[in-house]
């Protein structure tokens, strides 16, 4: 029979329950969706890596005879090796004016279970018919409508080679495929082309040799793997070991793994916030319900109901919220996970990234939501349940009507209108409700401000990296090192307004026991197109001698300006050179080292050398076309990066993400604010129905009465919002701290006034909007009925 009362109680406070349920549902939705997306990605990654036999390490060398490889294969800890020929090249598509960049990779002539295998999407593997067959990565093929049977031209080893497309494929190595200098995949401008091993040996003059070794470790611990990789690398050192990359540092894997780890963290933090807020709000509601039903509780106990039975009754009330929120969250979470997984397919290329039903995740979501509701309702009803039945049946002792501490500040208090005084007294006396409101508002505003700061950081970071450090329109990379004449050649290209040479030298930087392979970039003094800067954005002049190191690199090497370090080129004679650290610069993506170009040239035994150039070009479309046409015909160009395209594709993607992000953020914060405010105001209204009705009868207008509640809500939630601002900052700071030692990407903590104003305005909007609900209730209040209520 009590269950009938329960049902009617539930129906009676359905509005409030809906508010709480929605907070809880959003929490569970977040948990289930992020966690499911996490599992979807994680499982897909594991499956894909297994399917392609993903390498554990990559070692790039200048050129190694295949005869040397068995020695490497015998290194303890190395289980299996494959050598291949890998080159950067440009693609010449008839339909596209500009030369496009690509990576060319050799594959065995005949299919086999090799390391870093491909998964065919269209067409087939190489056949015996002809040597010049090519398999194109699927995304590039889709972007340019390339199908098996067509032909295309690649510039391989300075020669324009026609190739026959036999298939399209994907590979786990390029799950997240980035072109040079890019942060987001741009399949239109960068592709991967697989060619036959025999053909590659042929065109690149690599008969019996290779320039990359990929391998897998035998199942040993991390330390032995590291040792094995070091041993393998040192064995290859005589052949110009440029770089050894373990899987953990491989770019595609790093992006994917970062994303998966991020999902895992998000799947904890955001739902925790929501569920805590929901528990706090439920606590307030059940507390009010229990106090209102004091006599009922006393009577039930007098009838002979035990404490546990009565507690169970209120527990059922609360848990129905938990169950409903959990179920809703499960359903919505699954849908959201499906959506997120679909979104991920745009960035990550998987053979079978699908949304699966992870029952365990759903079960956890359900239990957590149940636990929160149990906690919230038991805590809320605790006070009243503890009363002896005789006590419960007596009317509640009026809250101590004593003065609040603020009243002692005479000069403040005397200046307040009576409306504010009432509001302040209520706020200070209903501690539970005030506490829950402060907490919810703080979480909501923390979430908003953290989100806004992230947006600001993203803007800053993109501007810093893509507009302020690098400022060119077009970047060229040459196949080989060239002399000063190359610069003249570049300058004489059509549409080139201004140009600067670049020299990239792969080096091992050594400082005492610390060492790190890094590309050192040679710049002309007073360079305008690549400008190293410090945190504040001030440009750092190239010193006459010595290196400018980016902060993270300096940290890795444990050096400071003035310290000496040794630089060993990874190619050529590999003669160690002593130099010193001149300045520290800042960069948030990757690691960077700069030197004056002539000094760096001497290091590699030249008077002047360059491996590329940066250009400012005439913005006229016709001029650009002319330039692109010439570049397609120019031998020795390995890559042409149109920075305009790069930035455009990046901002497009990021903008689209930002919109989704902002939308989610506002929705989430809105649910928190709205749910909490509506709940606390309606509870406050229910408690003071008689008071409100009396005032109405005395002649107050509904708006005047509404203002009373609005004051209360403003006091609590605006204060909470202010408290949330440092929380948001702290959250971002913690995230930045976690990324501080990341070699791939770091983030500065940047704020702007709009972040704070935006959060405050949003919060204000939510407060006013939720107040409308309360105002409506006041307007609808039946004065006579309210005056007659006996509670």
């Amino acid at each position: 029979m009590l269950d009938r009362k329960l049902v009617r109680d539930l129906v009676g406070s359905r509005g409030l329950l809906l508010a709480i349920t929605s907070i809880m549902a959003v929490g569970v939705t977040c948990f289930v969706s992020f966690r499911s997306a996490y599992h979807n990605l994680d499982d897909a990654q594991a499956r894909y890596y297994r399917q392609c036999r993903m390498a554990d390490f990559w070692i790039d060398v200048k050129k190694v005879p295949l005869a040397e490889l068995p020695a490497v294969g015998r290194v303890p800890g190395v289980e299996e090796l494959r050598s291949r020929i890998v080159f950067s090249a440009t693609v010449d598509l008839e339909a596209v004016p500009q030369p496009l960049n690509c990576q060319v990779i050799s594959l065995p002539d005949r299919p086999g279970p090799v390391i870093n295998d491909i998964v065919l999407r269209q067409g087939g593997y190489f056949s015996e018919q002809r040597p010049d067959q090519v398999i194109v990565n699927d995304a590039f093929a889709r972007a340019h409508r390339i199908y098996p049977g067509q032909s295309l031209h690649l510039i391989l080893n300075n020669r324009r080679q026609p190739l026959q497309v036999v298939g399209t494929a994907i590979s786990s190595e390029f799950t997240y495929l980035l072109g040079p200098g890019a942060l987001v995949p741009d399949p239109e401008h960068f592709g991967v082309f697989y060619i036959k091993q025999s053909y590659a040996e042929d065109v690149f003059d690599f008969a019996g040799a290779a320039n990359q070794v990929v391998g897998r470790f035998s199942p040993v611990d991390a330390a032995s793997r590291e040792a094995a990789l070091q041993r393998a690398e040192s064995l290859l050192e005589p052949f110009g070991a440029l770089q050894a990359t373990p899987l953990s540092q491989q770019v595609s894997n790093q992006f994917l793994s970062n994303e998966i780890a991020g999902l895992g963290v998000t799947a904890t933090i955001i739902p925790a916030v929501f569920l805590l807020v929901a528990a706090a709000v439920l606590n307030v509601l059940v507390n009010r319900l229990a106090r209102q039903q004091r006599t009922v509780i006393g009577t039930l106990k007098a009838l002979g109901y035990g404490d546990a039975q009565v507690a169970l009754h209120f527990l059922k009330f609360g848990t129905s919220v938990g169950v409903l929120g959990g179920l809703l969250g499960s359903g919505l979470g699954y849908l959201a996970a499906t959506g997120m997984t679909a979104l991920y397919r745009q960035y990550f290329e998987f053979p079978d990234l699908r949304s699966e039903f992870h029952w365990y995740t759903h079960a956890v979501g359900m239990s957590v939501s149940l636990a929160c509701s149990v906690l919230g309702s038991l805590h809320g009803a605790r006070e009243v349940l503890r009363l002896s039945p005789a006590e419960a049946m007596r009317p509640e002792r009026p809250r101590q009507g004593g003065a609040i501490w603020l009243e002692r500040l005479r000069f403040v208090w005397s200046r307040l209108s009576s409306g504010w005084r009432i509001a302040l007294r209520t706020v200070f006396r209903s501690r539970l409700r005030t506490g829950a409101g402060l907490f919810a508002a703080a979480m909501g505003s923390g979430m908003l401000s953290a989100g806004f700061i992230m947006l600001e950081i993203q803007d800053f970071l993109l501007d810093f990296q893509f507009q302020r450090i690098v400022r060119s329109d077009l970047d060229l990379a040459f196949v080989d090192e060239r002399g000063r004449e190359a610069w003249d050649e570049v300058r004489s290209l059509p549409a080139v307004d201004y140009s600067e040479p670049l020299l990239q030298v792969g080096c091992t930087l050594v400082h005492g026991p610390y060492h790190r392979k890094a590309g050192v970039t040679g710049l002309v003094r007073g360079s305008r197109l690549t400008v190293p800067r410090d945190q504040r954005g001030t440009r750092i002049e190239m010193p006459g001698s010595g290196l400018v190191l980016s902060r993270r690199l300096a940290e890795i090497l444990h050096v400071q300006p003035g310290d000496r370090l040794t630089m060993i080129p990874t190619q050529g004679e590999r003669r160690p050179v002593e130099t010193r650290v001149a300045r520290i610069s800042d960069t948030y993506i990757g690691l960077a080292a700069y030197a004056e170009i002539e000094e760096l040239s001497r290091l590699v035994g030249e008077e002047f050398a360059m491996t590329g150039a940066q250009l400012l070009i005439d913005p006229l479309p016709s001029a650009r076309l002319a330039l692109f046409r010439r570049l397609k015909e120019t031998p020795g160009v390995q890559a042409v990066v149109s920075r305009e395209d790069l930035i455009q594709s990046m901002t497009e993607t990021l903008l689209q993400n930002q919109l989704v992000f902002i939308g989610m953020l506002v929705l989430f914060a809105g649910v928190i604010f709205f749910g909490s405010i509506v709940n606390s105001s309606l509870v406050s209204l229910a408690e003071r129905r008689r008071e409100v009705a009396t005032l109405r009868a005395l002649g107050y207008t509904p708006w005047q009465l509404g203002a009373l509640f609005l004051r209360e809500s403003l006091l609590v939630h605006a204060t909470g919002t202010l408290l949330g601002l440092p929380c948001g900052y702290g959250l971002v700071w913690a995230a930045a701290e976690a990324y501080r030692t990341n070699d791939l990407i770091r983030m500065p903590v940047i704020t702007a006034p709009w972040v704070w104003w935006g959060t405050l305005l949003m919060a204000l909007a939510f407060i006013l909007l939720s107040h409308l609900v309360v105002q409506l209730r006041i307007h609808r209040l039946n004065v006579l009925e309210a005056l007659n209520v006996k509670e």
Partner: protein
Amino acid sequence: MTSPASDSLPQPLMRLEDVGRTYLMGEVSVNVLRNVSFEIRRGEFLAIVGPSGSGKTTILNLIGGLDNPTQGRIWYAGQELTRATPSQLTKYRRHEVGFVFQFFNLVPNLTARENVAVSCELSRRPQDIERVFEQVGLTERENHFPSQLSGGEQQRVAIARAVAKNPALLLCDEPTGSLDFETGKRVLRVLVDLNRQWHKTVVVITHNTALAQVADRVLHLRSGAITSIDENAAPLPPEEVEW
């Protein structure tokens, strides 16, 4: 804590011995009951009278196991209530006692019948609900919510709720306190009938001495102490009471 089956008269149903109750109000302790000793006989109709604040409700709460005395001992059917555990007290309330309150205390969102059912569910040998409703004369009002019933009807539902679980002891705190004269009489009639026909022991609190005329015995209370206990040789039927 069950009532003995034997009906041997000499043993009283309930005995209070030197019972006192003190409330702590911050620093001050208020002595609400002092040295109260009396017996409740099996099957009697006992009235407790006294002015407001004299401790009537406090006594009833102690008898009903809703509260514990700060001094003295209470026995029910040979068992000491003052040494019972909370769960034993709950069982005592569940099976031995029926409460009727001055303000009815019905669960507002349950119908009359459902309110009674709430109490039946607790009992091992509940009364037949139909019969109880007949007894209190409310058969037609079964499916009304409390807000749709008059005060007298609500009080009769409350009585029905108290009796339905078939307790030995019926405790009523000012059952007619918030009712008018005529309605009060009807409610009193129901209580007297329950006492006479169903052999319930009934304890009724009132501050109205006239009402006490229907009782077998009247206990007078003043400032937390018993002033006298009077035997009523010829209890009046409720209809003849004037107040």
